[in-house]
């Protein structure tokens, strides 16, 4: 593209704007390509990089550095779901008490915690802990040229770094979500029965009647979908970090921002797909 004459450009402002759009559009394509490559290499990672997967699982489950001080990933996820479980009790109990049906708080907990709160909060905690950690780690590797060094040693870097993290994210999220759901249920029950003084029999009756095991299983699928998306987004931003120490921090921030938005959208669409218009829900049995 040899531009010979530097004469006046036609519509410089429009051209500038279009160029900006083209860059954005190309970035979408670039990301999609990376995601496709990562997902395609999952089989390869399972065959060739099993040791790395185990290492990642250990690191993600227990957390590294400062995270380990406050209980690792399990501690953070447990704490966030505990506080939201109690929050459901505080807000739900008082709103229901306003219309005199606070006995139904057990039902509210079984319904709302299972369908929305537990998967969403677990996903958010996942993005903040494991996801942001992966971006920071990969970004530091990228700007100290370690990823290029991997390529030189003929290690397939996308497979070795991104696919292994996606696999271990999926594996780690399963026990993590068990903890999250149990903690949310228990803290909701504790807040309602001990703090607001509802009798445990009433709470348990409505809770057990309306706790739908099928919903719980679907929420597992929701969380696994989230884990895949979070790990893909965060490895992308870490793998493509640039611009020195500040770049790693910026990439981490941008990855968190993107993955939070993607999480909300994924939750919405998965919920719409699972529960549909009618909601697969029968109050009268």
């Amino acid at each position: 593209m040899a531009q010979t004459e530097p004469g006046p450009q036609h519509l410089p402002r429009t051209r500038h704007k279009l160029k900006g759009w083209a860059v954005g559009w190309n970035r979408v394509g670039h990301q999609t390509e990376f995601y496709a490559k990562t997902i395609r290499s999952i089989a390869d990672a399972l065959i060739n990089y099993r040791v790395e997967i185990l290492g990642q699982i250990a690191q993600m489950g227990l957390g590294a550095g400062a995270l380990a001080v406050i209980g690792g990933t399990v501690g953070v996820v447990g704490f966030l779901t505990m506080s939201t479980g109690a929050l459901t009790a505080v807000q739900g109990y008082n709103s229901l008490a306003g219309i005199g049906v606070e006995a139904l708080q057990g039902f509210t907990a079984a319904y709302i915690i299972t369908r929305v709160i537990a998967p969403l909060i677990a996903g958010i905690a996942l993005a903040a802990t494991i996801g942001a950690g992966a971006t920071a780690q990969l970004g530091a590797m990228r700007i100290s040229d370690e990823i290029d060094a991997l390529e030189v040693m003929s290690i397939r870097s996308v497979t070795y770094l991104a696919s292994t993290r996606v696999i271990s994210g999926i594996i780690v999220v399963i026990p993590l979500y068990c903890v999250a759901v149990l903690v949310a249920y228990l803290s909701g029950r504790f807040a309602t029965t001990y703090i607001y003084g509802q009798s445990t029999g009433v709470y348990d009756h409505y809770f057990n009647t309306f706790l739908n095991p099928k919903d719980l299983i679907w929420s597992y699928f929701q969380v696994i979908a989230m884990a895949i998306v979070v790990m893909l987004v965060h490895t992308y931003y870490g793998y493509h970090a640039a611009g020195g120490p500040a770049g790693v921090g910026e990439a981490t921030g941008r990855a968190v921002r993107t993955s939070l938005i993607v999480l909300a959208v994924v939750t919405l669409f998965v919920a719409l797909a699972i529960y549909g218009q009618s909601g697969a829900f029968n109050l009268s049995g």
């Binding site: 903040a128 942001a132 920071a136 780690q137 921090g249 921030g253 938005i261």
Partner: protein
């Protein structure tokens, strides 16, 4: 033999408990965080106030947060409206979907989305920026020039985060109500008039004021955590990334705790 082991144990215990030791590390972190917070509050009222920095940072934080706020609050409210509408349609009370949407979006989703955006977008960007300055030793240079970095950089940032969080809360509530309206009316076929009439049924001025106070508290806490992590970065390139990661985790934890306590207090106050 016996004596030497006892000395060894005692030395090890002293090493663990000493200021350099493992056990003291988190405590020292909390201590220096509190010290910085106190410095910030004290210097907030001491002239000169860094107006230019305050405006620039406010603009910067607002710019990185507005789009994520809109993109987050709409799916959140639509999800909540969807789940709640299923429930109240079962009761045959679809006309009240407006009050349920208002309750969900003003009292809970508003603050939660503000938390996520302030911590995930605003605080990370601030921490990355300050961390990069710390790594490049700009803060030390300021100290050499006789400028207190807490007064020049931290105070305007903390105030900017508070102000932006306050404004975001109103944006989230507005966007949430609009999203809930469109979803209820056009997809779930609720009567628009009934939806609008139901809006102020459960949510009034006290709830709105509490939501705004909550949002300001979030902004304050997230700003303090981000600045603390930013100015105490160490360890080169990897350090900034780790600091940003810690900012996200710590501010989520702190903000969820504040949300729980503020909701409990607020519910008691408005009853």
């Amino acid at each position: 033999m016996e004596g030497s082991t006892r000395v060894g144990t005692r030395e090890r215990a002293r090493a663990i408990l000493s200021s350099e030791g493992v056990a003291a590390k988190p405590v020292r972190g909390v201590g220096s965080f509190l010290a910085m917070a106190l410095d910030t509050f004290a210097l907030m009222f001491k002239p000169p106030f860094a107006w230019r920095e305050f405006l620039l940072v406010t603009w910067f934080v607002a710019r990185v947060s507005i789009l994520p706020t809109l993109l987050l609050s709409i799916p959140f409210v639509v999800l909540a409206t969807f789940i709640i509408n299923i429930l109240i349609m079962e009761f045959g009370a679809a006309d009240f979907s407006g009050s349920a949407t208002a309750l969900a979006s003003v009292t809970q989703i508003g603050p939660i989305v503000t938390v996520l955006v302030v911590a995930g977008a605003g605080a990370t960007a601030m921490c990355a920026d300050l961390g990069a300055r710390t790594i490049r030793e700009e803060l030390d240079a300021m100290r050499v020039l006789g400028i207190n970095p807490i007064q020049a950089l931290v105070v305007p940032r903390v105030l900017a985060a508070t102000l932006v969080a306050l404004m975001l809360e109103s944006l989230v509530s507005g966007a949430g109500l609009a999203g809930g309206f469109f979803f209820s009316v056009f997809i779930q076929h609720v009567t628009p008039g009934a939806f609008a009439a139901g809006l102020p049924l459960l949510v009034g001025l006290p709830e709105l004021i509490i939501a705004l106070i909550k949002a300001s508290l979030f902004g304050l806490a997230a700003g303090l955590i981000a600045c603390f992590k930013g100015i105490s970065v160490g360890g080169g390139p990897a350090g900034v990334g780790i600091a940003v990661n810690e900012t996200v985790v710590y501010s989520f934890v702190a903000l969820f705790l504040i949300n729980l306590l503020a909701t409990a207090v607020g519910v008691k106050a408005t009853m």
